[in-house]
Symmetry: C4
Amino acid sequence: MQPSFRHRVSHALDPEMNPEPGLSGLNVLVVVAILVMVLVGVLETEVHVIRQFGGLMGGLKLLLFAFFAAEYGLRIWVAGLNPRYRNGLHYAMTPAALLDLAVLVTFVTPFLGVETTVFRLLQMTRLFRLARIGRYSRAMNLLFEAIRSRDIELALSAGLAFVLMLGAATLLYIVEGDVQPEAFGSIPRAMWWAVATLTTVGYGDVVPITPLGRILAAITAICGIGFIALPTGILASAFSEAIRKARDERAHGRYE
Amino acid sequence: MQPSFRHRVSHALDPEMNPEPGLSGLNVLVVVAILVMVLVGVLETEVHVIRQFGGLMGGLKLLLFAFFAAEYGLRIWVAGLNPRYRNGLHYAMTPAALLDLAVLVTFVTPFLGVETTVFRLLQMTRLFRLARIGRYSRAMNLLFEAIRSRDIELALSAGLAFVLMLGAATLLYIVEGDVQPEAFGSIPRAMWWAVATLTTVGYGDVVPITPLGRILAAITAICGIGFIALPTGILASAFSEAIRKARDERAHGRYE
Amino acid sequence: MQPSFRHRVSHALDPEMNPEPGLSGLNVLVVVAILVMVLVGVLETEVHVIRQFGGLMGGLKLLLFAFFAAEYGLRIWVAGLNPRYRNGLHYAMTPAALLDLAVLVTFVTPFLGVETTVFRLLQMTRLFRLARIGRYSRAMNLLFEAIRSRDIELALSAGLAFVLMLGAATLLYIVEGDVQPEAFGSIPRAMWWAVATLTTVGYGDVVPITPLGRILAAITAICGIGFIALPTGILASAFSEAIRKARDERAHGRYE
Amino acid sequence: MQPSFRHRVSHALDPEMNPEPGLSGLNVLVVVAILVMVLVGVLETEVHVIRQFGGLMGGLKLLLFAFFAAEYGLRIWVAGLNPRYRNGLHYAMTPAALLDLAVLVTFVTPFLGVETTVFRLLQMTRLFRLARIGRYSRAMNLLFEAIRSRDIELALSAGLAFVLMLGAATLLYIVEGDVQPEAFGSIPRAMWWAVATLTTVGYGDVVPITPLGRILAAITAICGIGFIALPTGILASAFSEAIRKARDERAHGRYE
């Protein structure tokens, strides 16, 4: 028996209802449309782009609106087939569907400010929901499992880093505070320098100039290496462990 | 038999006396109070904050003083129950208790200088003492065990890095010393550039400008990658080893 | 029976035809000539070098032209011995041989622009083709195998990094856009800052100046650590796994 | 039988002749003296230090000269006891002893230039020779063994990084060469930017300013992450492997 048109739309739109593995062709199109929408949202904040490609952007937004409006309507229509939702209205009240609606509204009210961009960027969360299938889902689980298995070690190294950061900022506030009040005149100000140094970003907008300040800064920069090496080492061993465990579980399931 | 009030206070304040695992509710409050005190200590060095939130800060400090004074008194009162201390005075003479007292003194003598801030930041050591329980303690032991098991390898790579740093500074002092005497006119001055380059911080306040100087700086920057990769690799393998050993020991204990 | 001169030239020029392992002496010379050509190509873009060593460079280029022209002719002559090619013309039509010809043409038409340099740099691909033998080939396979075995995890961490980058750029566009329109006046502009911060490059040409902007930037810089630690950790575990697998396969082959 | 004074001096000075493990007391003193000499050599390049502590430095140098002269004489005297050397003169002709002599000469000829500093820094190589004992020696072997076991993989990732660097420099020379001729007007000039970006040092003295240049720079900076992650991952897995092998060898030796 052929599935009805409504069932086929449901299979194509809702990964949970899709009997076949992988993304349906329609959902691949949704992914592309979201990426285009994010790109348009990013580019239309730049006045030079608006001036040169304003017409093209307007056309693209019209197209995107039509596509997402149709897709939104279809999803409400088929939501009742998924046992998770009582009916279309029940689905429409979920946070994900409300966000979709909010994005549709931003398309037709062009005089909204920055919220437009923010709503559109939030649509990227849909990409993560769509990606939770097959190999991607396993890889995500592996990553999150590995990070979770070492959560306390990572929290401890973050705590250690925070103490180091506060200590470095306090020392430079004491040493350089009088010489460069604008940059080191308080601990919160010195924190800006401490973060840039410990993360090895090193903007260079603020640097110590006294000999003692430079010696302390050098020690801080060297500690920054540990600040990178510690979480990296923890994650590396956690991934090794998680991969080994996943392999053992597969072997266990095969032989019993 | 109900434990006396003094015993119950002792359980709540002293993790060593607490028959239940985890932090007591009172100690959670102590942790929060210390974090608030550190935040206040950091923020009150910034004149803009004092001007706008001076009253709020004053109130908070009064509250913190009352809380820590009461907690200090209670700890003296119950210290005798812990077999580690002969009586309250014996406990009051420990460095940890003397630091607590010093912090209380800084609250009531507002015209002290930077020592106030330093004493308050030192209070964060109490956080580490409180954290030495249960899962946190095991994670800390794992981290320290892993680092200790490779102490010589880490010391060697630090020594290698130091030699590299000194070599790079000497070469740039020779090459750029005459062109930029302010920045490279002596080896200690050139060290400032060498540290910033080898740790990949790269402030950019001091850069070589001669072609030879730039070639040497490029080689130094590339060596900096190894300076990061070496300790990271050592730590990663040490963590893998420490986790494997901890697992084996647990398995050993289970089967014998 | 002695192999004919044509066969011996084929052995020396074509690694696939060489009965002995390793690079032939002639191919070592080819490697050196390519490296010299790349060096000449790089240096001759610098007007100071041309002024001082113009004659030397001219002589070197003449020599290189003679060498590569002779080598090109010989390769056409012996190509028919390799069963992969029907005859010399068939070989001459392969992209690799056409690139070799293009490079020869750039030597005799000195008034070409930047294409000359680009063609010569592309010749470095020949180095990779020559390197695909023996131990180098195994090491390359190990590297590529390890990276491929974790492709989805690496793609996911790249995706996460991209989302982080877009989020940081959007927040700083909102917070600093009005204060520094040149640097943060649009999301694409703020992306330049976000990339420099998340990769811990930190040029420092663009930095936030408002307190809120700096707090967000500090959080971004700290996230940048994870942006480095995540792929490094994934690669470290992938290499461990790939080496272990290669060892097991060797052991397997030995004992069965 | 008591060993003669000459034998006891030999034990104390020459780690190869020392029947006991670890550094002799005299050699600990030598290590300290070398570190002091390096410190003096570094500090005396700084004119501010000379002005303030010139007398102290002079005294220290006199003391160091006396110590190293005596130590040099004793080493010549006892060299014949080590079967590696025929007699004192044979030892005195070794490069290490000649360097020691050169350093002694620099002490008594104060009007030498930068060579003084260089000779003194080269003395640090003696530290490495003295460190080649016991646990340090094993740790060094482990590090070098691990690095050597992956030498081709490391060389390949260095080659890849070099190609990336050259490619990035060429692209930015093409894109930004006309706009910023001083910074990107030739490939060698653009290389300075490329190295600073790929190593994530990011001095910021030279940055692209055109949109296309910035897009290419962003891609380069992201590739820089891989440039760090690849060797770090290779080293991490190499250390894991080397430690595992060392453990297995110890276990093997114990049970057979």
